[in-house]
């Protein structure tokens, strides 16, 4: 099967038989956790000990909660992965490998198999750990394992094999047929059949066509596309080449990437230059009469540009305003020519599908959503990071098996927010929802591009709804009234509610406005903007009512709606609340329940945030 060779780390990735290899996670998440200084320390330690080793940067393997990650592959042995590597740990890890010839058990997460090498005893394989067990990695299979800046690493893991197959063994119709068989649907959230989209664009008359990659991943809480671009950029290029071959008459592609992803843009630039050098891009690719080139267009900060027609407008140098469809981009896109526009993850899957076959890909997933989907798992969850699971995996196993449950053991799960500003919240009762396009919509959210933000009981549902609406309101391009004005009025109502000024009838008004904005907005942004509000009212009506009627915030988030009273039974008399009070309103004696003087309290919430036992309500 196409993926196994990738996950099982080809021996070609370790060409110097006698030299150890050290991989360091250098995606944005790794860098933010301090990977750069870890690399310097590793280099110093190597020099100090006089050891020769290859240091290789990798993308994100998905365990963002374990960053910085350092992997060590000794000659002939499996690759051992170390988590949360700090300065003081490096000498211990080095002692284990270079002095004792074993591994440092205390810091190792797992070992990754390498073809032709032997395993260590007493350390689980990557695929046996809880975090990876339920995952099937296809599009993210190279991320974190290979060096994303090395085209050789990509080629050693079946890279550009699909391109050769398409150029020399397949007709455009066969490519489209394979994509159709795979059932792959647009991973940006739209869910349109990729094969069908390519077929329509092929059928559109015109001798000049374009391929556009939508890398304008703007949903807050989503970073799947960033991980793929930073961890396996060539796979996206190969996907674009496939699209160009399939639609015909296409010599140019564009990648529209948001400017907030500087590292992704750098890695793409390098990948394009390297692909040129090997003639996978450029004129007469691999000696055929097929020529294709790719240009990167950087976004300039506008969320609406993730909407395909707005993206095309922006690409052509205009204000990024959407246009009503039809005409669809397949008929009239860049410069008025037929254009196929696909999301990063969609394109990243293509090479695997061409090699493994449409039927193989379709063997994963649920009835209507085939294959796998990546998710960015974040929020109040233990193992946050990037995961890839077969479509239809129940939300419960994503949150509790892979995600490891709540980060604070004592605070239970409240809801999972799926689909970002266009999505909704799924409560405890919906934990068994299979996560695919149809079932998530039935549960009141959307699968969207794949952001899952897990919330525990200490979060406020009304505040969350307000957060998302504020986001869409800010990002509304202003072209159509329902979105521009409707979202503003809704936000005003929600703000009132969170400040304790909620009135009877507010909820009915919110629902009425939601329906109006949904049905009358011009593009997807406005049409989906009310979703976070509707889904939260549907499942958490009591919490809204508590804010409106009782002027109380059960999650103790809305500062105005907290009573600032210490519950005696819950107070552990730890005293954490006392020193943080800026006005000295909290009094506490060792072994006594704390007390808050409401006359001098300025309701800043510092004590509430400091209390680990939720004893202040």
């Amino acid at each position: 099967m196409a993926t196994e060779t990738v996950v099982e780390m080809a021996a070609e990735l370790f060409p110097d038989v006698a030299i150890p290899t050290i991989h360091i996670g250098m995606a944005t998440c790794g860098l933010a956790a301090g990977a750069r200084s870890i690399q310097e320390l590793v280099e110093k330690e190597l020099a100090k000990r006089g050891i020769e080793a290859r240091i290789i940067p990798t993308g994100c393997i998905g365990m963002c909660h374990n960053e910085p990650l350092v992997d060590i592959t000794m000659p002939g042995k499996y690759r051992v992965s170390y988590r949360n590597v700090k300065a003081m740990v490096i000498p211990q890890i080095f002692d284990a490998h270079f002095v004792k010839g074993e591994f440092a058990k205390k810091y190792a997460v797992c070992q990754i198999s390498v073809a032709g090498h032997t395993p260590y005893e007493g350390l689980s394989l990557m695929n046996e750990t809880n975090f990876f067990k339920g995952q099937v990695k296809i599009v993210s299979s190279r991320c974190g394992l290979i060096n994303p800046t090395s085209i050789d690493d990509y080629i050693a893991t079946n890279g550009y094999k699909a391109l050769k197959k398409m150029l020399f063994e397949m007709t455009p119709e066969m490519i489209i047929e394979e994509m159709t068989k795979s059932g792959l649907r647009g991973r940006g959230g739209g869910g349109f059949q990729t094969g069908l989209k390519w077929k329509f664009t092929r059928q559109s008359p015109g001798n000049e066509k374009y391929v556009v990659c939508n890398a304008d991943e703007g949903d807050p809480g989503a970073f799947m596309d960033r991980s793929i671009l930073e961890g396996d950029p060539h796979s996206v290029l190969e996907g674009m080449l496939a699209a160009a071959l399939a639609i015909g008459n296409s010599k140019r592609g564009y990648i529209y990437c948001r400017a907030e992803y500087p590292l992704a843009i750098r890695r793409l630039r390098k990948a394009i230059a390297d692909a040129h050098e090997r003639n996978f891009l450029g004129d007469n690719i691999l000696g055929t009469d097929f020529s294709f080139d790719i240009t990167i267009k950087e976004g300039a900060g506008a969320y609406v540009c993730g909407e395909e027609t707005a993206l095309l407008a922006s690409l052509m140098g205009e204000r990024g305003m959407p246009w009503p469809k039809p005409p669809f981009p397949a008929q009239k896109g860049v410069w008025g020519k037929p254009t196929v526009i696909n999301n990063v993850e969609t394109l990243g899957n293509v090479g695997h599908i061409i090699l493994g076959g449409g039927d193989w890909y379709a063997s994963y997933g649920s009835e209507k959503t085939k294959g796998t989907k990546t998710f960015a798992l974040t929020g109040s969850i233990k193992n946050s990071g990037l995961i890839e699971v077969p479509a239809g995996t129940p939300l419960r196993s994503i949150v509790f098996d892979i995600g490891g449950g709540m980060i604070e053991k004592k605070i239970p799960f409240k809801a999972a927010q799926l689909g970002g500003p266009s999505g909704g919240c799924i409560p405890v009762s919906g934990l068994d929802t299979p996560v695919d396009f149809e079932n998530v919509v039935a549960a009141g959210a959307i699968m969207g591009s794949g952001g899952i933000v897990v919330m525990d009981e200490s979060s406020c549902i009304v505040d969350t709804a307000k957060f998302f609406l504020k986001f869409t309101q800010d990002e509304s391009c202003g072209e159509c009234t329902p979105c521009r004005v409707g979202s503003k009025i809704m936000l005003d109502i929600l703000t009132r509610i969170t400040e304790g000024q909620g009135q009877e009838g507010d909820l009915d008004e919110l629902i009425r406005l939601s329906m109006y904005v949904k049905s009358n907005s011009l593009c997807g942004l406005g049409a989906a903007a009310p979703n976070p509000v509707l889904s939260t009212i549907r499942y958490f009506r009591e919490e809204f009512e508590a804010h409106i009627r009782d002027k109380h915030c059960p999650g103790t988030v809305c500062a105005n709606l907290i009573k600032y009273v210490v519950i005696e039974e819950d107070c552990t008399t730890c005293g954490l609340c006392e020193p943080v009070c800026p006005t000295g309103s909290v009094t506490w004696e060792k072994g006594e329940v704390a007390h808050i003087n409401l006359e001098t309290c300025i309701r800043c919430k510092a004590c509430v945030d400091a209390c680990k036992f939720r004893a202040i309500i």
């Binding site: 998440c29 807050p220 052509m316 140098g317 929020g379």
Partner: protein
Amino acid sequence: MTKAEHGAALEITDEQIDQICEEFGNREGSVVQVLQIIQEKYGYVPAEVLERVGDDLGIPHSKMFGVLTFYSQFYQEPRGKFILKVCVGTACHVRGAELLVDKIKENLHIEAGENTEDMMFTLEPVACLGSCALAPMAMVNGNSFGKLSPDRMLEMIHQFQEEEASENKESVSAS
């Protein structure tokens, strides 16, 4: 043209603007890219530069202004040397990103989008930087910092101030 007060600003001449426009083929489709390059060199897009670009590309000023103001990453005013991009996306929001923003406001006496008087810092809350697992996070001049706390944020600001001070000292002694 007068030199901008922006810390990293370079002087840019009409000829240079013409050259940049020409490089992109004087096509209407390259407005965004041309403005991005100018901003990269300048730190912002001054009004007179915007006009010149419009003249070069044959685009009315009204339309140029429309494009400039549509995108949140174009600035019409100079900005600080260190751009504190604090992520206030979903994951960072639930992990207390607001506390970071408040700490900066309180200590540097600036509001969102404003510069400090000495043009050292600009506070810019942004929607999502895509490193949600390390929330709350911030990006300063392209470098990411994860798992921040308000105190750590403050430490970082002091560090930047110190770096800047020692740099200035060096350049004084060198001259």
